[in-house]
């Protein structure tokens, strides 16, 4: 075990890790924002809305992420002429843009499906009550369904964020120097296969569990009304909390 190699390459690996975090944050942020309208279109009853969205979700969930990355990065080269005349080639030329675009499209599809499941899981009693007191569609979604759906979606969404974070390792294949990309070139020069890849693996592991920890805290804060109130007798607390727990 050659520890000197690890120490020497640590600055470069950390800057690679920083790129990984950047790409993750961008893709998660834009993907989440995009997934809300997509999910709403998906649950709509209007075929003009849900059919194209269903096609998009089906395609991006049914094909490997690596194929999607190659399709957008290398595939755009086939349409360079058309892209140049539309003024878009400067974007598709850059691996960073292609990487974030692909990851965003991918995570938006998965997140939209998670949200769809969560929206349908909101108990109908609440929706009925809201309609009964005259809430409009928009108000119903904004005040009742979406807040509830987000909380229900949290466990599944935390898995999706972790998946996306780990999936960024694939951008090393289109020449980006994220953590995996840096690890590969360091290993190529030093031949310290174990030392470097295990260090990179540990870095991914730590951040993964960091992400899960943050999500668990958020879930904890948001589910306060479902837990026992402090300072009450056991039986009383159970009765009350089971009445209140309108999951």
């Amino acid at each position: 075990m050659d520890f000197q190699v690890i120490v020497d390459s640590l600055p470069r690996m950390l800057s690679g890790g920083w790129l990984t975090l950047q790409i993750t944050a961008l893709s998660v942020g834009i993907g989440l924002a995009a997934s809300i309208p997509i999910a709403l279109m998906r649950v709509s009853r209007n075929p003009l809305l849900w059919m194209p969205v269903y096609g998009y979700i089906f395609y991006f969930r049914g094909t490997p992420l690596l194929v999607q990355i190659f399709l957008i990065y290398y595939g755009s080269g086939q349409f360079r002429g058309a892209l140049e005349s539309a003024g878009l080639w400067t974007f598709f030329r850059e691996p960073y843009f292609c990487a974030v675009l692909t990851l965003t499209l991918n995570t938006a599809a998965y997140t939209a499906e998670i949200l769809r499941g969560a929206i349908r899981a909101v108990s109908f009693g609440e929706v009925e009550a809201a309609r009964a007191c005259g809430m409009s569609r928009g108000l119903l979604y904004r005040r009742i369904i979406l807040p509830k759906a987000f909380r229900l979606a949290l466990p599944a969404y935390s898995n999706e964020v972790v998946f996306l974070f780990q999936a960024t390792s694939l951008v090393s294949i289109i020449t980006l120097l994220d953590l995996t990309g840096v690890a590969r070139i360091v290993v190529a020069r030093s031949f310290a296969v174990y030392e470097i890849y295990i260090t990179a693996a540990l870095m991914y592991l730590v951040v993964t569990y960091g992400i899960l920890f943050v999500f668990r805290r958020v879930e904890f804060r948001l589910s306060g009304h479902l837990r026992e109130r402090p300072g009450m007798a056991g039986v009383m607390a159970e009765e009350i909390s089971s009445a209140v727990a309108v999951r």
Binding site: F58, Y59, G62, T63, P64, L65, L66, V67, Q68, F70, L71, Y74, G75, S76, G77, Q78, F79, Q166, A167, T168, S169, L170, S172, I173, T180, A183, R184, V187, V193, Y194, Y197, I198, A200, A201, Y204, L205, T208, Y209
Partner: protein
């Protein structure tokens, strides 16, 4: 619409390899899943600890890194270990073996969680009854638990399969001639990357659809004779 310029046979060869490595890896994942679930539910602390470390580590590290470690690292590791014992072994870790074992190991961790939930869903009373009439642990496992676990495990295992078959595309990184790699080679030869990657993606979609249909059938079979509430 998609003019493959005579390289279609490469995609066909590739999809055969993809399915081959996928099925093999799934088999390994099932075995690892059963072992892992057994470890997690075992009475020994060592067993639980090993299984926990297994699922924790595998699910915290990107698949690409694991594939690179196994393919580039394992031969040297075995060499070094063997040399210490004075043996002169030659291990050939080719891309197929490296890819299959890595993917199988990774998804074994996910299968562990599926099996664990599935075993816990089987009515405890049945185990108690089996022990009461004197069945050993192994016999009870083989005759009572195992036949029934599929009903609870199939949906989860189906999900594992759907993710696993797409993960086989990663093995293209170590040059296994599976679908994505062959699409890559063909795309470079005729310089039509979009055409070939799109064709490959449609084939993956087809695999997805076929898998979904097969899973529906399998779930119906596993639930035969069960009254639905």
């Amino acid at each position: 619409m998609l003019d493959l310029k005579g390289y279609g046979w490469m995609l066909w060869d590739g999809v055969q390899m993809t399915v081959l490595v996928g099925v093999g890896a799934m088999g390994l994942a099932l075995v690892m899943g059963l072992l892992g679930a057994w470890g997690k539910m075992s009475k020994s602390k060592a067993g639980r600890a090993t299984a926990d470390v297994y699922t924790t580590v595998i699910r915290g590290v990107p698949e690409l890194i694991l594939i690179l470690i196994v393919y580039y690292g394992t031969p040297t590791l075995i060499q070094d270990v063997a040399e210490n014992f004075g043996a002169d072994i030659i291990i050939d870790i080719n891309p197929f073996v490296a890819g299959l074992t890595t993917i199988g190991f990774i998804y074994g961790a996910f299968a562990t969680e599926v099996f664990r939930g599935a075993f816990q869903a089987i009515d405890r009373g049945q185990i108690e009854a089996a022990r009461a009439i004197g069945m050993s642990q192994t016999l009870a496992f083989r005759r009572i638990l195992l036949p029934q676990v599929w009903r609870f495990a199939l949906p989860g295992l189906g999900n594992v399969w759907m993710v696993l078959i797409k993960a086989t595309a990663l093995i293209s990184v170590i040059q296994l001639p599976e679908l994505l790699r062959n699409a890559d080679i063909a795309a470079r030869a005729v310089r039509l990357p979009f055409t070939f990657y799109f064709a490959a993606s449609l084939i993956y979609l087809a695999i997805t659809v076929v898998s979904m249909l097969a899973l529906q059938r399998a779930e119906a079979w596993a639930n035969r004779g069960i009254r639905r509430a």
